[in-house]
Symmetry: C2
Subunit: 183 residues, 2 copies
DNA sequence: ACCTGAACACCGTTCAAGT
DNA sequence: ACCTGAACACCGTTCAAGT
C-alpha cells in the first residue's frame, strides 16, 4: 500500500492508505468500529498524523465512499461486457451470494443517515438499476416492464446479501431467482 | 413512558424507557449515534443513573433488540390473521414501502458484526420466511417451490426498504412484485 | 512532505453518596 | 428503588515541533 519512502527509507502513508484501511474497517466491524487510533495502529503511525491527510473522520469516510463508488462502477463495466443478457444477469446475481467487502460496505453505509452517504448510495443504486433495465430490454421486455423487473431484481439482490450476512443457508436461491425473474 | 412516581411525585424511569429511547435513536441515527449522555438527556436524567438499569451500553442494546424482536413477532401474527393468502402477501409487501422505525432498525442492526445482533436477525428472518412459505403453500405451490418463492419474496422485501431509505421513487413496485411473485 | 507528542473536550464506566 | 456528581480511561481534534 505505502509506496513512497523518505530519505531515510521509512515508508510513508498517503490518503489512499487511510481510505483503504477505513473501508476494511467499515466492512469488518461497521461504521461504529472505525476509530482514528485503530486505523493509525494498522498503518503503524500515531493518530496525530491522520490530520495531515484529512480534516476529520467524516472527511475520511466521504473520501473512502468515493473510492468505493468508483470500484462499483468498474464492477458494473466488467459485468456489462458479458454479451448474453441472461448470462450477464445471472453473473450479477451470483455476486450477491459472495459476501464481499463491497457488499458488507453497502449494508453498513445504508444504515447511516448522513446526507452525503445517502446521496452516494442513491447514485450507485441508480447506476445498477440502469444496468439491469438494459439487460431486461435486451431480453425483449418493453421499457416500463423492463424497469419494473429491474427494480424487483435489484431489491432481491440487495436482500440476498442481507441473508448471506445472516449466514442463512440458501443453496438454490440464485437458480430459482434466475428462473423466476429472467424471461 | 415513565409511569411510576416516587413519594415526592417525581416520575422515575425504568429499563423499558431506556430501551425505547435506544430504539428511537438507532432508527433515527444508526447505532453509532447512540450515546448514554444523549439518551439520558432525552429521559431527563444524568448519565450515571443509566448504570442502575443496565451493566453496559451493549447490554442496553441487547435488551432493546429483544424488544424489537417481540414486536416483529406481533406484526407477523397480525398479518397472519388475514385469511386470503394473496391479500396477506400484498399487505406484507406494502409494509416495505413504509419506512417505519422497525425497518430502519433492521438495516442499522444488520450492519453490526456483533454475534448477538446477528443471531437475533437470523431468528427474525427465519420467522418471516416461514410466514411467507406458508402463504405460498396455501396458494398451491409445492413445498420446495414455496420455500424458494418465499426466499425470493423476502429478499425483495428487504431490498425494497433499502430503496425507500435511499428515497428512490418506485411507485408501481408493489403491484409489479405482487404480479410477478404471487401465483 | 509527513510524522510525533502533548493538550483538551467528550463519552463509557464506576462508585460513593443522596432521597 | 432510583438518581446525582465526581472520578478516570479512551477517542476526536488541534497544534507546535520534529525529520
Amino acid at each position: 500500500m505505502a509506496t513512497q519512502r523518505t530519505r531515510l527509507g521509512v515508508p510513508t502513508r498517503n490518503a489512499v492508505d487511510w481510505e483503504e484501511a477505513a473501508l476494511d474497517a467499515i466492512a469488518a466491524g461497521g461504521l461504529r468500529s472505525v476509530t482514528i487510533p485503530s486505523l493509525a495502529q494498522t498503518l503503524g503511525v500515531t493518530k496525530g498524523s491522520f490530520y495531515w491527510h484529512f480534516a476529520s473522520l467524516d472527511e475520511l469516510i466521504a473520501a473512502a465512499l468515493t473510492r468505493w463508488e468508483l470500484a462499483d462502477k468498474a464492477t458494473l463495466a466488467t459485468l456489462a461486457a458479458i454479451e448474453d443478457p441472461a448470462t450477464r444477469l445471472r453473473a450479477a446475481f451470483e455476486e450477491a451470494m459472495q459476501l464481499t467487502r463491497a457488499q458488507a460496505l453497502f449494508i453498513a453505509l445504508n444504515a447511516t443517515p448522513d446526507d452525503a452517504v445517502v446521496a452516494t448510495l442513491r447514485r450507485v443504486s441508480q447506476r445498477r438499476i440502469r444496468f439491469l433495465t438494459a439487460a431486461f430490454r435486451e431480453l425483449g421486455l418493453e421499457a416500463k416492464e423492463a424497469r419494473e423487473r429491474a427494480l424487483l431484481a435489484y431489491t432481491a439482490y440487495l436482500g440476498a446479501f442481507h441473508l448471506r450476512r445472516q449466514a442463512l443457508d440458501i443453496p438454490t436461491y440464485v437458480a430459482h431467482a434466475a428462473r423466476t425473474l429472467i424471461p
